[in-house]
């Protein structure tokens, strides 16, 4: 098992880390209550500037999805695959109850089972290894997949 010291989040402030129960970090407007992810100081709904950071729900439902069928251009893509090893991956929006829909890579053993409305859980884990360190990112996966 890799030590925490060897793990770096893909971006600061996206999720709580290190944590045994990591959560995405969003913001909630103190004026109109609208939730945004990632956290931001200004509210996109009421144009206010008074928001507070919140931890997001970890279970939601799949609102829409697609499958990325070709290796994305790099940069900006920086995943571990080569043209030879690339396998299509899923992306979608997960609706977190009473909060917001979050865009996420989806880890799914069987892409054919993806269906709008299915329950999805947050997982925060290794995305890629760079310079001897594990880059940690967030994903969603079908509830009960593991």
């Amino acid at each position: 098992m890799t030590s925490i010291a060897n793990q770096i989040p893909i971006a600061e402030g996206l999720f709580t880390w290190p944590s045994n129960d990591p959560r995405l970090l969003g913001s909630k407007c103190n004026n109109c209550g609208v939730v945004t992810f990632p956290a931001q100081a200004g509210c996109p709904a009421c144009c206010g500037e008074d928001t507070a950071n919140i931890e997001m729900e970890r279970r939601g439902t799949l609102w829409t999805w697609t499958i990325q069928g070709f290796l994305p251009n790099r940069p900006p893509y920086d995943g571990p695959e080569t043209a030879e090893t690339f396998k299509p991956f899923a992306v979608g929006y997960i609706e977190l109850p009473n909060q917001v829909r979050v865009q996420s890579r989806i880890k799914c053993d069987d892409l054919d089972q993806l269906k709008i409305g299915m329950e999805m859980d947050l997982v925060v884990e290794k995305y890629v290894e760079r310079d001897g360190k594990d880059i940690i990112a967030y994903f969603f996966e079908p509830a009960g997949q593991r």
Binding site: I10, T64, W65, G69, P72, Y77
Partner: protein, 380 residues
């Protein structure tokens, strides 16, 4: 003060090796000048743009250093539409009488490369593989099909129609009309959208000469009048490309806002339009834009495509020049290509793809990242 289009010009779309994007813009500009029997030094101003082929205002060194006001426009896929909007305002304000809107581009082959940070997103968003426009198009139509019962058959029919129209357009890139099976069985790119349901980055140039409506007959016997031009950005709750999250409550798309504003400005409604160009970055976009622009109810597209309503001889011909699917997407030029086609149709000069019964009112709609739309309404 109404504004007229008195000259149109185009460099063929597609791939033109050995000709820079800028030179394709210059070619289109000269065509438009020749169409209106004007010279470059007659023009008082120009607005121009390109996304990947350099600064439009450097055209002046090729067209002539006349000292005119030339302003570069950069507004994603709506760059051409925004150049036209700017030219429209310049004349409507009374500041100028005669000028040009021009757009051109030349993109590398393959999918567009996006710089997430330039769009206000975190670097991680591209790192992890989400900064791709095809994903958005796939996800938006996936949800739309789920909500409104649109089938893959309808996605295929849109593509087949546009390639068929493109095959009648000498300036189009793809002049071969793909069959239904070729589209329906092409490789999956971003579910549910297949390879031949997507447009590809391309090259091309397009230019318009605009003037005060009361002077239009000085330059041409068949002017086309801009009755409305509207550009709108997204409002809170619309589902847009490059959104790390989206609100639970849905709001109307920027295309809906731009469409409503344009119809209000023109004082007419969707039922008055004889021919339309709707952004068809991919098949799903044309389907959703039919309703976002007010031409049909959500879900009616299934019937419309089955009954051929958007074919050249249908009740509302859509993308008569083959749209983005057959012409490709040179970002700076696409919005103006739509206006070029409508002008040609209203002038009765569209050749084999001419809409019958002398169309009098036309409509263009462009959509671009990160969520903006431009609409024009034109009349004879």
């Amino acid at each position: 003060m109404d504004v007229a289009i008195v000259g149109i010009g185009m460099h063929p779309f597609g791939r033109t090796d050995g000709v820079s994007g800028l030179d394709q813009g210059v070619y289109a500009a000269r065509q438009a000048l020749s169409d209106s029997k004007l010279d470059w030094n007659d023009l008082q101003f120009a607005y121009g743009g390109s996304s990947a082929a350099g600064n439009a205002d450097s055209m002046v060194s090729k067209l002539g250093l006349t000292g005119l006001q030339f302003i570069n426009v950069s507004n994603g896929c709506a760059t051409g539409g925004s150049a036209l909007q700017s030219a429209y305002m310049a004349i409507q304000s009374g500041m100028f009488d005669l000028g040009m809107a021009v757009g051109f581009d030349k993109h590398p082959r393959g999918a567009f490369t996006v710089d997430p940070e330039a769009s206000g997103l975190g670097k991680w968003y591209g790192d992890i593989g989400m900064a791709l426009t095809p994903q958005f198009f796939g996800m938006k139509i996936q949800r739309y099909m789920h909500e409104y019962g649109i089938s893959e058959d309808t996605l295929t029919r849109v593509a087949v129609k546009n390639y068929k129209n493109g095959a009648m357009n000498p300036n189009a890139w793809r002049k071969n009309a793909f069959t239904y099976d070729e589209v329906a069985q092409s490789p999956m790119v971003c579910d549910p959208l297949r390879k031949y349901m997507f447009c590809s980055p391309a090259e091309g140039g397009c230019a318009m000469i605009l003037c005060r409506a009361d002077q239009a007959h000085k330059y041409t016997s068949n002017p086309v009048f801009l009755k409305a031009v509207a550009v709108k950005t997204r409002t809170f709750g619309s589902f847009e490309v490059f959104s790390q999250s989206q609100a639970l409550d849905r709001a109307g798309a920027p295309s809906e806002q731009a469409s409503k504003a344009a119809f209000e400005m023109a004082g007419i409604g969707p039922e008055d339009i004889d021919v339309a160009q709707l952004q068809d970055t991919e098949s799903g976009a044309e389907i959703m834009h039919m309703s976002e622009n007010g031409f049909c109810a959500d879900g009616d597209q299934e019937k419309w495509l089955q009954e051929g309503h958007t074919e050249i001889d249908g009740k509302l011909p859509v993308n008569t020049d083959g749209g983005c699917l057959a012409n490709g997407e040179p970002v700076g030029a696409s919005g103006l290509r739509q206006v070029y086609e409508i002008a040609l149709q209203l002038r009765g000069g569209a050749g084999k793809r001419q809409v019958p019964n002398k169309p009098k009112v036309g409509y263009t709609h462009v959509y671009g990242a990160p969520g903006l739309s431009g609409v024009t309404i034109m009349t004879t």
